[in-house]
């Protein structure tokens, strides 16, 4: 018997190389904007990161602390220090003080750009080479502990879970209904398909700006519509403060995103429906099944691959809700009712400068999404029917 050889031919390697050349631009973009930040988030999560002037190796030590302190406090370089740095190649005229505190000074060598930090400890003064910039200090699990102890993070987790738990099934259910309608023969089908897809391809910023107006308490379209509807039925309706009442902020976010994604999901499901073999339907009809029975027993089960795909994609996407909060609420919303995990990460990193904490929060979010996706891939997928 002839065993298959592991040795690949020249042709194979050329094809592989060619494929990687084509992939290179995408890999470069993904590498810089996805993989590198992804790995760094893990790294940063165990550090306290701040902008500091960090002492390097010691250049000089003296005990003449008071004379040095007096001269440095005047913004001048002590002669002894100038001599020391001259021996290291600096020109005394290029040295200048840029930071002075009671026991800590920073001077800069204009020619080389090198900074030196002078630290007084008791009677002793030490001169170090120094660098000013992002300084990382190992803190272990401290950022994770801090995140879990932060009530805001708990609130963000809860809000995000509520959002995911309501928007994902609602969108999927409505998309299934819409797809069923679009699957039927009806006039203007092409128009309805396009119309339902439009919210998905419209930029989220534009959508959110429009919805901010729709949700306006006094002049918004939604309250106008609801009050008109209530009027028809002779009901009392008090205007809902969608964006400023903590009870309605989450529903507002859910409604907007259900509207945004239903059309997209419906088209995916519609494509799935069109791929179902007509023989199943014909056989069911021969057996006397009704329209709803056919839908429930044939369409839905055979759509489970598409439903499963949408479930995973929308679950991951919903956990990452951010732009809507930023634009619609211009903040975390009243009583932080719209605070989501990604918004928490964003504010901790870019408003408060707590990069370590923000990274830890993002790692926790990753772990949650990873665990849920794993659960879906192992447990939920068993209920998916693949047409054979």
């Amino acid at each position: 018997m002839k065993l298959p050889t592991l040795r690949k031919g020249r042709r194979f390697w050329w094809d592989t190389l060619e494929a990687y050349v084509y992939l290179l631009p995408t890999l470069a973009v993904l590498g810089v904007f996805t993989f590198y930040p992804f790995v760094n988030a893990f790294r940063y999560s165990v550090y306290d990161i701040r902008t500091r002037t960090v002492p390097g190796h010691v250049v000089y030590v003296t005990v003449d602390s008071s004379a040095w302190a007096t001269t440095l406090a005047r913004g001048r370089i002590p002669d002894e220090l100038a001599d020391v740095l001259r021996k290291r190649g600096a020109t005394p005229d290029d040295l200048w003080v840029r930071l002075r505190q009671a026991d800590r000074w920073v001077i800069k060598d204009e020619a080389s750009g090198q900074e030196y930090i002078i630290v007084r400890e008791g009677e002793e003064i030490r001169v170090h080479q120094a660098t000013t910039g992002w300084a990382m200090e190992w803190v272990g699990w401290a950022n994770f502990t801090r995140a879990f102890r932060d009530p805001d993070f708990g609130k963000a987790l809860l809000n995000t879970s509520v959002y995911v738990g309501t928007s994902v099934p609602t969108t999927l259910f409505l998309a299934l209904l819409l797809a069923t309608l679009l699957h039927r023969e009806l006039r203007g089908k092409a128009f309805f398909r396009l119309a339902s897809f439009l919210p998905y391809i419209t930029p989220v910023v534009a959508i959110t700006m429009v919805w901010a107006w729709i949700y306006d308490r006094n002049f918004g379209l939604l309250n106008y519509f609801l009050s008109t509807l209530a009027g028809w039925f002779g009901l009392q309706f008090s205007l809902i403060n969608w964006l400023n009442d903590p009870r309605y902020v989450m529903p507002a976010l859910v409604i907007m995103n259900v509207w945004r994604f239903t059309g997209y999901q419906a088209l995916i499901l519609l494509a799935g429906m069109q791929g179902i073999d007509r023989e199943y339907y014909e056989a069911a009809r021969v057996d006397g099944a009704g329209a709803f029975g056919v839908w429930r027993k044939i369409t839905v089960p055979l759509l489970t691959p598409q439903i499963f795909f949408l479930l995973i994609i929308s679950l991951i996407g919903s956990f990452k809700i951010f732009e809507e909060v930023l634009i619609l609420l211009q903040g975390p919303g009243p009583q932080k009712s719209g605070l989501t995990v990604v918004y928490y990460v964003f504010t901790k990193a870019f408003d408060a400068g707590h990069y370590g904490l923000a990274s830890a929060a993002s790692v926790i979010l990753f772990a949650i999404i990873f665990a849920l996706s794993l659960f879906q891939l192992t447990v939920v997928q068993k209920r998916v029917h693949y047409e054979r």
Binding site: W134, N218, Q330, G331, P334
Partner: protein
């Protein structure tokens, strides 16, 4: 003044001799404010041909803050930037001690309200500063309140009718500076003088919190600027807002066809403290050459010169930050015919106080926002809100 002129001339000649020095200046001044800043910077460049200023508008304050954070982290900060004091603590080590580069005359000319040192260092100077004042509807409030009691009775009398869009007052939950103003007026503080103890839940703090909670029952609570509500035709009897919002509030009132006027803040037992708002200027050191830092200092000195800071104030609604400007003829003759600006000026001089310059103030402010909102929403008793706030501040102080 002569020394300042000589200093600027020396800077100009110095950098001129070495060739042109370019400095980047990041700011968040949009529309008319941005145009006025550009005008002043152009004038500076005309007077200092050796210095080129790259004036970069970075969007609103949040965008500026986020871009500064990223730029400092990347080691590529601008030379000069506007910044709130509570941002400053994040990159204190990267900033230049300005007192080493600004003439002593300019440093001495700053109003005592702006005498601010971070860890003993003068790393920022005030630039676009405003103060909290009271805005009121003369048709609803014929006599503006002078005390807390009068303020409360006016607010209570107007009441709150959400359907009609009528409110006694308005509070912005993201703006805890109003609470801090009430706190200081009541004689309270966030921390003790030596920062060793949290004092915000002391009796003075409770008095301020209870007062705010009572007013909140009749208040429009909206995180958007109050001018947005006014423009929509919502009637608000009297509300505390920054003097920098003057143009926006007046434009909104004009659009809604309602009158609006400015009065000093109601005081408490004669204490008329009012929190100063607005940003400062700071110079980043890591990538800067000495010539660039001197050029940035020359620009700061130019902007703080009496004629320029008064022009800036007249055009933008901010207040002059130097003694020579605020007490000088230029500003005094300008406000003589402008009652609103006179009120703002008097409020700054008489009661202006700045931010707590604690290294963790940024986190404290975040907590203040959270609990100020809880207080306004009436989620818990003022004492419980203050106690919870005090415990959280104590944990980070």
């Amino acid at each position: 003044m002569r020394r300042v002129a000589v200093f600027m001339l020396v800077c100009a000649l110095g950098v001129g001799a070495l060739g042109q020095v370019t400095i980047s200046f990041w700011h968040a001044m949009s529309r008319a404010l941005g145009e006025t800043l550009t005008e002043l910077v152009d004038k500076f460049q005309e007077e200092n041909p050796g210095i080129k200023v790259d004036l970069v508008y970075q969007g609103g304050y949040s965008a500026l803050q986020q871009k500064l954070i990223a730029a400092v982290a990347a080691g590529e900060p601008p030379i000069l930037a506007q910044q709130y004091q509570n941002w400053t603590t994040q990159w204190l080590d990267a900033l230049v001690d300005l007192d080493l580069f600004l003439p002593a005359e300019i440093q001495a000319d700053l109003l005592p309200q702006f005498d601010e040192l971070f860890e003993g260092r003068m790393v920022t100077v005030p630039f676009n500063k405003s103060i909290l004042v009271l805005y009121y509807r003369p048709d609803l409030v014929p006599d503006p309140p002078r005390t807390w009691e009068e303020f409360e009775s006016i607010v209570t009398a107007i009441g709150k009718d959400e359907e009609k869009g009528v409110y006694g007052t308005a509070f912005r939950p993201p703006n805890p500076e109003i609470f801090l103003t009430l706190l200081y007026q009541a004689g309270g503080s966030i921390l003790s003088d030596d920062w060793s103890e949290v004092t915000i839940n002391n009796p003075a703090g409770l008095e301020a919190a209870e007062f705010a909670a009572r007013l909140a029952q009749y208040a429009l609570l909206d995180s958007a600027y109050t001018s947005d509500a006014i423009a929509k035709g919502i009637a608000i009897g009297a509300f505390i807002d920054t003097s920098a919002g003057y143009t926006y509030n007046m434009n909104a009132a004009n659009a809604a066809g309602v009158p609006l006027a400015v009065a000093p803040l109601p005081c408490h037992d004669g204490n008329c403290a009012s929190m100063i708002q607005g940003t400062n200027l700071a110079v980043f050191a890591p990538k800067a050459s000495r010539a660039q830092i001197e050029a940035a200092a020359a620009l700061i000195a130019f902007l703080l010169r009496e004629d320029n800071i008064v022009y800036w104030a007249q055009k933008t609604g901010y207040l002059p930050v130097t003694r020579s400007a605020i007490y000088g003829d230029l500003w005094q003759s300008y406000i003589a015919g402008k009652p609103a600006q006179k009120v703002m000026t008097d409020q700054l001089i008489a009661g202006g106080f700045g931010q707590l310059l604690h290294p963790r103030y940024m986190d404290m402010r975040s907590l203040l926002i959270t609990y100020w909102e809880l207080l306004l929403m009436g989620e818990d008793t003022p004492q419980a809100v203050l106690d919870a706030l005090a415990a959280e501040i104590d944990a980070i102080k």
